[in-house]
Amino acid sequence: MSRQLKFNIFRYNPQDPASVPHADTFLLEETPSLTLFIALNKLREEQDPSLMFDFACRMAICGSCGMVINGRPGLACRTLTSDLPAEITLMPLPVFKLVGDLSVDTGTWFRATNSKIESWIHTDQEFDPGAAEERMENALAESIFELERCIECGCCVASCGTANMREDFVGAFALNRMARFIMDPRDKRKDADYFEVVGTDQGIFGCMGLLACEDVCPRSIPLQDQLGLLRRKMGFIALKSIFKRKG
């Protein structure tokens, strides 16, 4: 017997003066292997064509479809309705600016934050098209990839206690990104340079250690470990600089 699913979906169109934030209820017959990607598209095409939400790859690698699913941030495309109760409540991710309904503007937020933490390889070395590449151990390349797997879906940011309270907190995604660069010998920044960027309350010292980020990360990135390592490293630099000042 297939279930009758009841969706409670947050609705608000900021561009429409007549629109007020509210929830709409939709009913949908559950079919085998139904995902929220298929379900939401069915609702849009068959019941309400104005329903706003974001998908692109529909295979959990582009990070477009983060939303709050029964109270928990996650990727809608890979959420099977069979893993949920028959009543499903969908809300847009908090922290990010609302575009409409379930759609939020993650692009502006992530671009600004990546710019703030200078998320790129810093080097004075010019690229030489004629030269062989610099060597790297494969194990190191694999470790970098492990952290580089972040898809900037925003789930860690939306679930973060600090990010929900202070606008300027860079979030677990950015701290993980810094850990990736610290690990990479091609990035010539020094400890003090990294400290400048994330050794602050907007950075690692803003983290309260609640670690919802680790729980909700759809890529299973070891955020807890990375935040811990970064806190220790930045704490050590802070202490060193205090002693230096005194000496």
């Binding site: 529909r58 295979m59 990839f145």
Partner: protein, 613 residues
């Protein structure tokens, strides 16, 4: 009618790998550049590329003796001699530089590990001895249709990682990015492209971009089909605005690739790297079959060939029955847990999350589905679009044309940054010499025209057709009539049906209000354009009475080099017509490698006259 206007030297429509690589070149040369994107750039379809990019570095043991010459020959054979050999040459020569450059920018390519390692081919284990002097250099894996192991990779997240690397570079250079912006039409005076009208997908407002040069880098047109690995945004937006000028041709629209291993039923791609790393295809009896059809290459023949044999094998009754129709199995179990959880990590995740299948112990259900658009905005070897000055294109959206009628796996990711690098440099030269008189009157006219059309759609002035029903009907016709195997009867029916659906598309009216970032309106604005593309694909396929690469005609099974060593150029000159005008040009001006046998996918060849003796 109030609208915002942005001025720039270069506007790139599309911020995937090709668009960003061109933008980096222009911005580094000091030109003001704006990147437009339907989604935040890091969510572009480039991120879905998995297995890697081909470049003849020859570092790994199985790549020894590789060179751009060998890569070039593989690419031309892969294209079934449909490619422009000058482009294939530029591509093969530049690919190693582009790979190393990406490494310099932070790409964590997998590296050679010296010593003996066990590998698989066709399910059989063999030993490879990596040389100590190559330790730590960029390594490569096997892909279909290649003589050497040449596909450089970062696990099976190569596209994702490369895109983030490029977007980091874009961030470093401070290039302006406008995401959630969709191109609606190009602004031009019949000779020169002046910019474009676009719609903001956050507010729904129309805006104008005026620029000395416009680049189209919007990816493919996979969403003309219902069963595709493509993302939901690959709707052919760039090809539509170019075709709609009536001046710029759509090159080889009928050249459409079907990938052997789409997952059933979601059409999520599992990388060719699975077979490259030694995975096998099995039938209902869990027996291999590709070696019977392709004794030499087996599972690693080119994609068009493997897809056809898979469908043939299913037609012969050897498919695995399922509620979603018959499929085959992909088996990577023998590669082992360590390999699967490190080098095929995304496949491992995808199978578990979307199928509930653990590929370490279980088989993966697969079936060929639409994957790639070889055709696109026809450009010359330096990226200049035919027919309109100041318009450029690069990447999958373009028909450069290095892929001809079949693209090799690992050559599309490579094309994005190789063509992006090359065309970016040519574009910089163009910008250095370009003085533009930007015509605000043309912009005003273009906006007025688009705005009037949008108002009619919102009001339902021309009818109340449902945009989703029209789209679904189109996708169905394309799947049924313009798929892996084609024939005159079905193609004619497809063209006839598409003409009817095209007429319906002009009567689409909204059910919703159309206010703001309304998704129904976004689809309604482009649905007629998508149907024009579909008509180009179907009509181009109908007229091409031969089989070449991915274009397989059951009624014309031979590759006909005598009459069809050509590239289709589809124009849409008559705004009120319902068929494109087809012209043809030679596939290549220069032959470094004369037409011959590919070495796989045996088919009869009708030779060119001067070569027939």
């Amino acid at each position: 009618m109030a609208y915002e206007t942005f001025y720039s030297d270069l506007v790139c429509i599309g911020a995937g790998l090709a668009g960003e690589r061109v933008a980096v070149e222009a911005a580094a040369a000091g030109f003001k550049t704006i990147l437009l994107s339907l989604v935040p750039p890091r969510r572009s379809h480039s991120c879905a590329a998995e297995g890697g990019m081909q470049a003849a570095l020859g570092n790994c043991a199985m790549g020894e003796g590789d060179s751009p010459d060998v890569h070039f020959a593989d690419t031309v054979k892969g294209s079934d001699w449909g490619c422009d050999q000058e482009c294939a040459r530029i591509f093969a020569d530049t690919a190693p530089v582009a790979v190393r450059e990406a490494g310099h920018w932070g790409m964590p390519w997998n590296r050679v590990e010296a010593g003996k390692a066990l590998c698989f081919k066709g399910g059989v284990c063999f030993e490879v001895d990596e040389k100590p002097e190559k330790q730590g250099l960029i390594t490569a894996r096997a892909f279909g249709g290649t003589a050497k192991w040449r596909t450089c990779y970062t696990s099976d997240g190569t596209g994702h990682t490369l895109l983030y690397t490029l977007d980091n570079k874009v961030t470093e250079l401070g290039i302006t990015v406008h995401d959630r912006v969709e191109a609606v039409s190009l602004i031009h005076d019949g000779e020169t492209c002046q910019g474009l009208v676009a719609r903001c997908l956050k507010t729904g407002a129309l805006r104008v971009y005026l620029a000395k040069a416009v680049l189209i880098a919007t990816g493919g047109y996979g969403k003309l089909y219902s069963e595709t690995t493509n993302t939901v945004i690959n709707e052919g937006g760039g090809q539509i605005v170019a075709l709609d000028t009536g001046l710029v041709p759509f090159g080889n629209p009928e050249a459409v690739q079907f990938h052997p291993t789409g997952v059933v039923p979601t059409n999520i791609l599992v990388t060719e790297g699975c077979r490259g790393d030694g995975g096998t295809l099995l039938d209902v009896n869990q027996e291999r079959f590709m070696h019977i059809y392709e004794p030499e290459k087996a599972e690693l023949a080119s994609r068009d060939v493997v897809s056809r044999w898979m469908m043939h094998h299913i037609r012969e009754g050897h498919g695995v029955p399922s509620p979603y129709g018959p499929h085959l199995w992909l088996d990577i179990r023998h590669l082992g847990e360590k390999h699967i959880t490190t080098r095929l990590r995304e496949v491992y995740d995808t199978c578990r999350h979307f199928l509930g299948v653990d590929p370490i112990t279980q088989l993966i259900p697969v079936r060929p589905c639409h994957h790639y658009s070889m055709g696109g905005v026809r450009i010359n070897k330096d990226g200049y679009a035919y027919g309109l000055k100041g318009l450029f294109s690069a990447g999958e959206s373009a028909c450069w044309d290095m892929h001809g009628f079949n693209r090799l796996g690992g050559n599309s990711l490579a094309e994005t940054i190789v063509a992006g690098r090359h065309i970016g440099r040519q574009l910089v030269e163009y910008l250095k010499g370009a003085e533009a008189t930007l015509r605000t009157d043309l912009a005003r006219q273009a906006v007025a025209k688009d705005e009037a059309r949008i108002k009619r759609i919102i009001a339902g002035s021309d009818g109340k057709e449902s945009v989703y029903e029209v789209r679904n009907a189109m996708q169905q016709v394309m799947m049924e009539g313009v798929g892996i195997f084609r024939n005159g009867t079905d193609l004619q029916k497809a063209v006839d049906d598409l003409q009817v659906i095209y007429a319906r598309s002009k009567k689409v009216g909204l059910k919703s209000s159309g206010i703001g970032a309304n998704p129904e309106l976004a689809m309604a604005i482009k649905i007629s354009g998508m149907l024009r593309l579909a008509l180009c694909v179907a009509y181009g396929a109908l007229q091409r009475t031969e089989s070449r690469g991915a274009h397989a005609r059951e009624d014309y099974p031979a590759r006909n080099d005598r009459d069809w060593l050509t590239r289709t150029l589809a124009y849409w000159r008559d705004e009120n017509g319902d068929l494109p005008q087809l012209e043809y040009e030679p596939a290549t001006k220069v032959f470094h490698l004369p037409p011959g046998d590919r070495g796989y996918g045996k088919c009869e060849i009708i030779c060119r006259e001067e070569m027939s003796e």
